[in-house]
Amino acid sequence: MSKFPATQALTVGLAATAVTAAGILVSGAHVVATAWLVGIGFWTAAAIGMLMMILIHHIFDASWSTALRRQFEHGTAAFPWLLLLFLPLIIGSYAGKGDLVWPWMNPAHEVHGAITVRTDLLYEKKSAFLNVPLFTILSIGFFALWIWVSARLRHASFAQDADGDAKWTRRNGFTSGFGIPIVALTLTGAAIYWFKSLEYHWFSTMYGVWYFANCMRAALALGVIIMLWLYGRGDYRGILKTDHLWAIGQLMLTFTVFWAYISFSQYFLIWNANVPEETFWYNIREYGDWWYVSLFLVFGNFLLPFLLLLSYRFKVTHAAIRWIAYLILFVIFVDICYNILPALQDAKGNPQPFLSLNLLWSATSVAGVGGICVWAYMRSLPKTKIIPIRDPRIGECLSHHE
């Protein structure tokens, strides 16, 4: 296996990170730090989705996904690096006035130009949760739990390559039993802390599930891209079958519908109840060009991938499903921008436009964090066999048939 892609990925990641950092001189630290959160949010979603796919694989004792699971195990090697890349945002919140990213971290931050966070009743009610020490402990704790659960799964799976003992499979089934609630709760906590609290007046019980939907979509799209990449390289010749692509394509369709169901439900309940504490969140997302981003979410995030993924032929044709996977990754990026970037406001309190330098720094952040995540995956890849060769289910996986 050549080392070239790993080095290349790291170079791209570091260069894009440097460009993002240089953006501070142009747009200021608040904008760039918020854009950096887009990069973290995107790739953490992908890593959590991969972790969830491994857990779900084990809890159902699935067979078709056994070969693909190994690639997801490599993907979760990104968690320690994601923690490292997230730390600047926490450290930055301790330096200065506190509102580097999250406005509620600065008690003197003005709310609606009339009151400050300190005197805001809605902040006071939520301050038991929204305070910097708890944020720090829990954010690092979330990463620690993801690293721990994924390390357990990786260790057992890799050890089975050596001795072929079925106890590793049982151990991973046990890990999945407690791993799924842990990951579900932590990803919900992370979504609330990192993204939802940017506009802390707002509340939505759908929010964690929204992030989960994007986690799964990102992991499945990357899974397709990885499988086809390995096939093109030759590693997956004789392993990847039409029915594997069909199976993962069906899951992509499922989670496209799931994303739409969650996002629509969130919007519909708020639209129907019409309570100002909730509707403002969508009002600012209809301001200026964000209105077109909202429409793009309906048609680009849901309708287009939905219609494309209904087709059996598109699901199993390499070129088609690869493009659908890229499309889904792109729309997840737009969705995460939609959730984070309107928190950046102009002097009048309106959201800054979508098409602005903020989007550029978000894109360089995704490239920066992504390069380092891909590098982490590439570093892990040559450490083991390309498929879990002695997994009890590997035979069923290789002869998978609809």
């Binding site: 919007y267 519909f268 129907n272 019409n274 209904l310 059996y312 002869s399 048939h401």
Partner: protein, 177 residues
């Protein structure tokens, strides 16, 4: 018996023998024929040259019909026939029509899928000529059958029988319609 026989049936001992025979029957250009097996045989659809099922087309048509039925129904009822002002909302909005349209999409898709499957399979079917074949009970246990129908344009009493013999079929018999 005034009616013509249904066709020729042959018995095979293993899935391997059945698959090899199916490939040759397929390559001989027959269209109206079938394999009867006691359990699903993976890959038999390719060996028989069958394409994908056409049921999804019925499903899609049902889904589209269901969605627009829901939208049109609510538009007619709330926006036209019996207007009610609730909470300052518009008389009609696709937003509140969406949950109903979505439910009807699923319902109609399910109906169309079941209906399309019945239609394409020719169900309900209470009688099939192949039930007259003496080995039919074995085909629910450990034997595999190939049936070539007389209705096939390439069917020829002698040539088809010779083909079934050549591909290794045993107990070749003509079954009554």
């Amino acid at each position: 018996m005034a009616e013509k026989p249904f066709g020729l049936v042959a018995t095979f001992d293993s899935t391997g023998a059945l698959m090899r025979a199916a490939v040759q029957v397929r390559d001989a250009g027959y269209r109206k024929w079938d394999c009867i097996t006691p359990f699903p045989v993976h890959g038999i659809d390719q060996a028989m040259g069958l394409g994908r099922s056409r049921v999804p087309r019925f499903s899609l048509a049902g889904g589209v019909t269901g969605f627009f039925t829901g939208m049109c129904m609510i538009f007619y009822m709330n926006g036209f026939d019996y207007r009610l002002s609730v909470g300052g909302k518009p008389f009609f909005s696709p937003l509140f029509a969406f949950p109903i349209s979505y439910e009807l999409t699923i319902l109609f898709t399910a109906f169309a899928t079941i209906g399309g499957m019945f239609y394409l399979n020719g169900l309900p079917m209470h009688y099939h000529p192949v039930l007259n074949y003496p080995n039919i009970r074995k085909a629910t246990d450990n034997r595999f059958l190939i049936v070539i129908e007389r209705a096939d344009p390439r069917f020829d009493e002698a040539a088809t029988r010779a083909l079934l013999e050549r591909v290794g079929g045993a107990d070749i018999e003509e079954v009554e319609a």
